[in-house]
């Protein structure tokens, strides 16, 4: 089986200690976590974990089984990027040199983005989209020597069905 990027989601009780246990499932198998995010879910008191790791499908299944086994986890599932709506938001700090000539125009035409802030030293750009789109903008800014700093959200996902529906019978 082939390794690829899997997105593992888990709805959990919002309790201390669960993150530690979820992370241990990966650490125990020496699987590197590419990104890890915990946020509110639409249901009060329930958190949504979103974890990205590069594994094969058999391992993704085992990881989800092990996460489901944790007391405090309501439901965990795995997806490939095309299996759910997954986006990222990123903030780019770029050099003022981007304003020379028509560089800014060129870049913003190719990579739809928003200018958030500007001062004497740098500009802050915001870009949201698929992971690959963020990667493309990063690469281009880097190549042109314009990138000063980058901060990205990691995958933020929406399940195809509502939380309430996907946890039918549990809540």
């Amino acid at each position: 089986m082939e390794n690829r990027e899997y997105i593992i989601s888990a709805f959990t009780e919002n309790h201390p200690g669960i993150l530690f246990r979820v992370a241990s499932v990966f650490l125990r198998r020496k699987i590197n976590i590419e990104s890890f995010k915990v946020s509110d879910s639409p249901v009060r008191g329930i958190s949504l974990f979103t974890i990205v790791a590069v594994v094969d499908e058999a391992m993704a299944r085992v990881l989800v089984q092990q996460i489901n086994r944790i007391v405090g986890v309501l439901k965990s599932s795995y997806y490939t990027a095309d299996g759910l709506l997954s986006q990222e938001v990123a903030l780019f700090k770029v050099r003022k040199a981007i304003l020379r000539g028509d560089t800014f125009e060129q870049i913003s035409r190719k990579h739809p983005l928003r200018l958030l802030q500007m001062n004497g030293e740098y500009l802050v750009l915001r870009k949201s989209g698929y992971k690959e789109e963020i990667d493309a903008l990063r690469d281009e800014l880097k190549e042109r020597g314009l990138l000063m700093e980058l901060s990205r959200s990691g995958s933020i996902i929406l399940h195809r069905e509502t939380v309430e529906k996907s946890m039918d019978g549990i809540l």
Binding site: F20, S24, V62, R69, V71, G72
Partner: protein
């Protein structure tokens, strides 16, 4: 509802009482003194067995749980007291043993300051507990304890750690209320069984020429002994056990074909490779059971029943996965199972048993050499007890021989560290088993190495007059490691010979009846006297130093590659 003001420590004690706990195994220390004070004041409510090391306390709680089916409880102080529990917690996790460990913790406002005897036991135990929780106020104690017992004992049992900060033990509460936890939305203790899958499973079994049931400890944990036997009898299907499953079915049952695995019986290992359908119940396909996984049971269509969803498909993907309680699943399958003539298939078992008898068993049990074998001692005890004793083992050669040659008439009669293989487990586990089941004979088989890992628990035997029968199979070696060196490292006995103390003097110091057996002709009398003498008894048998446990499937080899002796 008791209206008087009570301390957190008292609330803890009352909560344990509410869960039916009457015995604790533990060891005091500075942080946990408030609980010990409550135990002193309310001595009528709880028996506290002071062990000689916290590892002894948890293994005793494990032995208690495995002998009785009740959740074992141990308590320890913060820091080193708590960390001394770790090995036992890991052992209970991998062997699905219901234990609740209560550890004291530094006061809540001192957490994270490297306070005296602070250890982050929640982080340390997270990977090896089913659940853990830190209590920081007295009001949380009762609900935490009720969850602890619910989680430890239901579904696939396991260890739970409740870490209680000192302030919570001394805070006062206005009265005491206790509500037993019956469910949690984030935990399914009782999955509904897919009846479709059950039907397909029975169909598969009914159509099978060479079906085999392989069962594990799940049968005991679920209380499915009767259902298993009935399914096997009705369907005329042979059954084999893992080490931890042993005693769930009487050893003499005509359909029982023995133990699978690395040192298991030849018949069930061979039958695993020949079976056309395997029903695996309450077992987890440990590498010690499967050998080389790619070669395992290749002919067989597999049905796997387990209450832990994460076990289904973890090692081997079954054709039919049945999530649920073993007793329920087997009872349902029994209704439509059909008997078939399987004399040829049972013939394979008989034939392979005869082979094992000739190649291994006769040499172990009726040796022609001078030195006594471990097998003779274990067989002697099995005969003398009629298979009625609870057998407890430590880890090593004697453990495998005890599993091979003990006879079991009743369930929950073998207590051994399976998944973790924890040396030092035996003596304290035997103490816990005897305390749980005072009316049963409890016989411990241990090695000279493992005994010395927790030998201080002889003090617990002394203080509490625990009537355990200790059989030391002394080969002056870390025998099982030496066996591997002998077979696979050209007899380079690196750090496995042992210079031992005079164990007779040690037993004497602890005021335990003792006897040394060096000659075969003294063995039967020693066993007889040991069993007949009330109270604890220590028999040391000097056994052959270089015996190996056979048959053996070397690690990583296929089940078909069975070694019968050193040269094969």
């Amino acid at each position: 509802m008791e209206q008087k003001k009570i301390s957190g420590a008292e609330a803890l004690l009352f909560s344990l009482n509410a869960e039916g706990v009457d015995t604790l195994f533990g060891y005091p220390g500075g942080t946990i003194i408030p609980l010990y004070d409550a135990l002193y004041v309310h001595a009528d409510r709880m028996r506290h067995i002071l062990t000689r090391h916290e590892q002894g306390a948890i293994h005793a709680a494990q032995g208690f749980a495995r002998a009785s089916g009740r959740t074992g409880v141990c308590i320890a102080t913060s820091g080193p007291g708590a960390t001394n529990l770790l090995t036992g917690i890991a052992d209970a996790m991998i062997d699905s043993t219901p234990v609740v460990c209560i550890t004291a913790q530094v006061p809540v406002n001192a957490l994270g300051t490297d306070f005296f005897q602070e250890a982050d036991i929640i982080s340390m135990t997270s990977p090896v507990t089913k659940w853990n929780y830190q209590v920081t106020s007295a009001a949380e104690i009762a609900p935490a304890i009720s969850r602890a017992f619910f989680l430890a004992g239901t579904g696939r049992p396991g260890p739970v750690v409740i870490d209680i900060t000192k302030n919570a033990l001394v805070e006062m509460l206005d009265g005491f209320e206790y509500e037993k936890c019956k469910e949690l939305r984030c935990y399914n203790d009782h999955p509904v069984i897919d009846t479709d899958a059950l039907e397909r499973a029975v169909e598969l079994l009914n159509g099978a020429e060479r079906p085999l049931i392989i069962f594990g400890q799940g049968i005991k944990l679920s209380g499915a002994e009767k259902q298993l036997r009935e399914l096997s009898e009705r369907g005329n299907i042979p059954m084999a056990s893992t080490v931890l499953g042993l005693s769930a079915v009487p050893s003499e049952h005509p359909n029982f074909v023995g133990m699978v695995g690395m040192h298991g019986n030849v018949a069930p290992n061979r039958m695993t490779q020949q079976a056309d359908v395997i029903l695996a119940v309450g077992m987890r396909f440990s590498d010690r059971v499967t050998g080389k996984i790619g070669e395992y049971a290749k002919q067989a269509r597999l049905i796997h029943v387990d209450i832990d969803a994460s076990e289904l498909g973890r090692i081997i993907t079954p054709e039919i996965a049945i999530l649920g309680d073993a007793a329920e699943a087997l009872a349902a399958m029994k209704r439509t199972i059909e008997a078939r003539d399987r004399s040829a298939w049972f013939g394979v078992a008989a034939e392979q048993f005869a082979l094992e008898q000739r190649e291994v068993i006769s040499k172990d049990l009726r040796p022609t050499k001078e030195r006594v074998t471990m097998g003779e001692v274990i067989d002697g005890v099995a005969r003398a007890t009629g298979g009625d004793a609870i057998i407890v083992t430590d880890v090593g050669q004697h453990q495998m021989e005890a599993a091979r040659y003990s006879r079991f008439a009743r369930t929950r009669s073998l207590i051994t560290s399976g998944g973790l293989g924890t040396m030092g487990y035996g003596l304290p586990a035997a103490i816990g088993a005897k305390i749980a089941m005072p009316n049963r004979q409890v016989v411990l088989f241990c090695g000279d190495g493992g005994l010395q890992m927790t030998i201080q628990e002889l003090g617990t035997v002394l203080e509490w007059k625990v009537g355990v029968k200790i059989v030391l199979l002394n080969n002056s070696f870390l025998g099982m490691v030496r066996q591997w060196q002998q077979l696979f490292f050209e007899r380079r006995y690196s750090s496995t010979p042992m210079t031992n103390p005079d164990f007779q003097k040690i037993a004497d110091a602890y005021e335990i009846h003792h006897r040394l057996v060096e000659k075969r002709e003294d063995l039967a009398a020693a066993i007889g006297e040991m069993l007949a003498t009330p109270g604890a008894y220590f028999v040391e048998v000097k056994v052959d130093e270089e015996d190996c446990v056979f048959p053996m499937i070397p690690g990583g080899a296929a089940l078909s590659d069975i070694m019968f002796n050193e040269s094969l």
